[in-house]
Structure formats: C-alpha cells, structure tokens
Subunit: 238 residues, 2 copies
DNA sequence: CCTTCACTAAGTACAGCGTACGTAGTTGCC
DNA sequence: GGCAACTACGTACGCTGTACTTAGTGAAGG
C-alpha cells in the first residue's frame, strides 16, 4: 500500500524533502529544468512523464514521488520560467515600467513557445509567479489613487494581451510542429484558400483590407502600439 | 491502397461530396455538431475520434473519410460555433457595436467553455469565421480615417482580451473537470496556501490588495470596464 | 446493360500516453 | 535494533491518434 495523496493540494504546500527515508535523487528544480528543456526542444506535447523521467535518468513511475499528477509538472515548469523574469527597482514611471514588463514577457514566451498554452491564473500561486506579481504592483505604486483591485485588473489585462499576441505570433509555428509539412507550406495553402474566398466578392471589406498598402509590418512596433493602447485606457492623466 | 491526402490542404478547400461512389452517410455539419456536443458535455479532452464516431454511430476509422486529421475536427468545431454569432446591421455607433460583439463572444464561450482553448488565427479562415470578421469590419465603417490594418488590430485585440478574460473566468472549472476533486475544494486549497504565503510578509502589496475592500465584484461590470478601456485606446474622439 | 473504378465503410494493429498498484530497498528516529 | 516512513521502479490497464488492409457500393463510360 503506497498511501499516495488523493486530496486537493497545492504542490508548493508539500515539503520538497521529507524527514524520513532515503534522500531524493532530484530536486524540483532538476525536474522542472528537464521538463522545460524537453518542451523548448520538442514542444509541450513532447513533455510526457516517460520523457521527463528518461531525461532525468530514472524510471517513469519514480517521477510520481515528486509530482503527484502531470498537471503539477506543468505547474513546476510555469514556476521555473516565471523565475526568468528580471525584476528591477521601479523607475517611478509606471507606463515605462509596464511596457518593459510586457516586452520582457514577450521575450520570455519567444524563448519558451509553449508558455502561452500554460498561461492560466491557476498557476499564479507559485513562488516565482507571486514575486512577479508583487513586482508589477510595485511598478504601479505611482498610481496612488487606483485601488489594488483595479491594478490587478491592469496587470491581468496586460498579461492577457501579451499572451494572446504571442500566441498569435507563434500559432502556425506551433501548429505545424506536429504536422507532416512545414509552416511555409501550411501558410501558403491557407493564404491561397483565403485569396480564393475573398475573390468571390462575399467579403468586400476583407478584400479592401488585402488590397490596402499594409505599410511597415514591424511586429515589434505593432506590439508596442497595442500595449500603449491598453495602458492609455488606464492612464488617469489622459 | 487508400490514396489519402498527405499534402498541406485546408479542409474547406476539399469538396464535401465527391462525384463517384456511395453517398456519404454524414455531412460535415453532422460531425461538427456531434463533436461540439461531446465537448460541451465532457470538455475538449473528451473529444476523441472514437467518441465522435460512436456518437455518430459509425466506426472509428470511417471518420477519417471526412476528417483527415484530428486537427481538422477541431477546425470543424470552431467553424460550427462561429456560426452561432448573431450578425446584425451595424448601428453606426462603432463602440456600441463592438461592445455587443464582445459580450456575445463571451456568452458564446460560456456556452462552449472549450472554445478559448481552440482560439487561434489558424482557424480564422473558415466560412463562418470569415463572415464574423467581415461583420466586425462593417461595424467599424464609421472609423473612416482608420486603415484596415489598424481595424484588424482592433478586432484581434478585442477578441484576444475577451478570450483571455473568459479563459480566466473558467480556468479552475475547466481544470477540475479532469481532477478527482471539485472546483470548490481546489479553490479552497489554493486560497489557503496563498493566504499563508501572503502572511509571511514577503508580498506587502499583495497583502494590501487582500485586505482592501474589494467593492462590488460584478464580473459582468468588470468585463465591460476592461473592454471599454481597450476601445478607449482606439477612439479618435478621445 | 454491364463493366470499371473511385469512393465509402470498417476492422485490425501499433506505438504512445497517464497512472493505479504492488514490491523491494533504504534511511532516520525511538 | 526495530519500526515506520519514505524512495525507487516494474507491470499492467485503458485510453489515445492513426497507418494499413479489406470489403462493399454506386455513378459514369462504353
């Protein structure tokens, strides 16, 4: 009988090292690093209990001594990359600080393209996620008249927008990872189909959008612009 | 030899009914409806080729005559629920129209809680998705000086914010669907842990946020407010 | 009309998944 | 030293997507 936990439990609440028994062979950081490495390499779907265990050099079922469910492995991964956020002394310019946070989050997600899929408030309780949130709130200290509830909204909205933006940036790349053809082929096929549909005349505004001179397509600039718009909405001086 | 397609191909580009051979037993709409029903009932993870085939009353492998890959089944599902968008004659007030679009999308996602997970621009080429996008652009006609590129940005950002908002609303509910305990138990465990962490004093602003009077917690009002903020950023009259 | 052949339908099989369970070995505490 | 708690891990089960094979159907061409 292996009396394993079957009760609601946050993984961060269970001690990493128990008092009795042999010294565990790995730390949570080891496991998280292995899983993150696999996900960076082969996508989130490559992260299986068997693969992670193999990367660590242990039996598959031994992993369950550290991670009660696969969900918790995801939680470990999320916390690990949350720790990559650089946290600085707030500058006093909350807009500049929030833009810096957002740009950094975007870079983080480009480094770990599986991260948007794991973005969820249920992972927001991990140590590094809490540190990150506290840092965001610190950056918003200049907004003295804004309630914390609203600040949380602001941070949440900003994170959400960054997540969606990067998810869109990476969508075809991540999709074709498990498909038998390349991203370029996929895009070409879809654009060709779209062109045929628009040519039917059923979507006049879409057609206009496609004939319009797109101007400079600087993804970084578009990102900044969208973010500035969101901040505009919260700026009391506007 | 069953010459199945192994080339990049949008499912909407292949004809639903071939010239020769017996009449197919189902339409794409039948299949989409079955899959949507299963997802509504048991979550997206309950949608397997076997389940959908069983719901249709056919063999598992027969499904592959209609849907070359499971990805395409998702695409069918996305298109089917995209068809549930109500499209009206634009009122001339673009802000009011966009708010109505956003509220409707939120309702749609509450009706189909798996939809946020499928939200991706790669599905934006389906017939109903194109109709929806054209409708959004029509609602933005009053913004005569705005380029279509920017209007696309606006629609994309709005959809993204709605998606993230609803994903957050539903996160614990969808998470506990596959967990052996209830959403309430899960939330209680996490809040208890969070309380313990905040009590350590390591997160002073988080602590302040939790002691602050939260005021009215009307999720609908918060949603509207966040959306209005995003629209503010695009409003030339502000 | 009858042949032809593209198409539909379905079964079998395989590799991979999460994980329940049982067992053996190791270590710290009384 | 003995006991209890813990680690480690192999086996097994039910599930997944889907490649491949075979059989049957029905519209088009001669």
């Amino acid at each position: 009988m292996a009396g394993r936990a079957a009760v609601p439990e946050v993984i961060w609440a269970r001690p990493e090292r128990a008092g009795r028994g042999p010294r565990p062979a790995f730390t949570r950081a080891d496991i998280a690093a292995a899983a993150v490495g696999i996900a960076d390499e082969g996508g989130l779907d490559a992260v299986s209990m068997r693969h992670v265990a193999a990367a660590l050099g242990c039996g598959t079922m031994s992993l369950y001594n550290y991670v009660p469910r696969k969900e918790d492995l995801y939680e470990l991964m999320f916390d690990a990359v949350s720790g990559e956020h650089e946290l600085w002394e707030p500058s006093g310019d909350w807009r500049a600080d929030m833009m810096r946070v957002a740009r950094q989050t975007r870079e983080l997600m480009h480094r770990h393209p599986w991260l948007p899929r794991l973005m969820s408030p249920v992972y927001g309780f991990s140590p590094n996620a809490l540190r990150y949130l506290e840092h965001c709130l610190a950056c918003l200290d200049p907004l003295q008249d804004m309630k914390y509830g609203m600040k949380m909204q602001l941070v949440g909205l900003l994170n959400g927008v960054v997540t969606m933006y990067v998810a869109n940036e990476l969508s075809t790349a991540e999709r074709t990872r498990n498909l038998p053809w390349s991203e370029e082929q996929e895009n070409a096929a879809r654009i060709a189909y779209l062109g045929r549909q628009v040519a039917t005349g059923a979507y006049p505004r879409m057609a206009a959008a496609f004939t319009e001179d797109p101007g400079p397509i600087d993804l970084d600039a578009v990102f900044d612009l969208a973010l500035e718009r969101v901040l505009d909405g919260f700026d009391p001086s506007r």
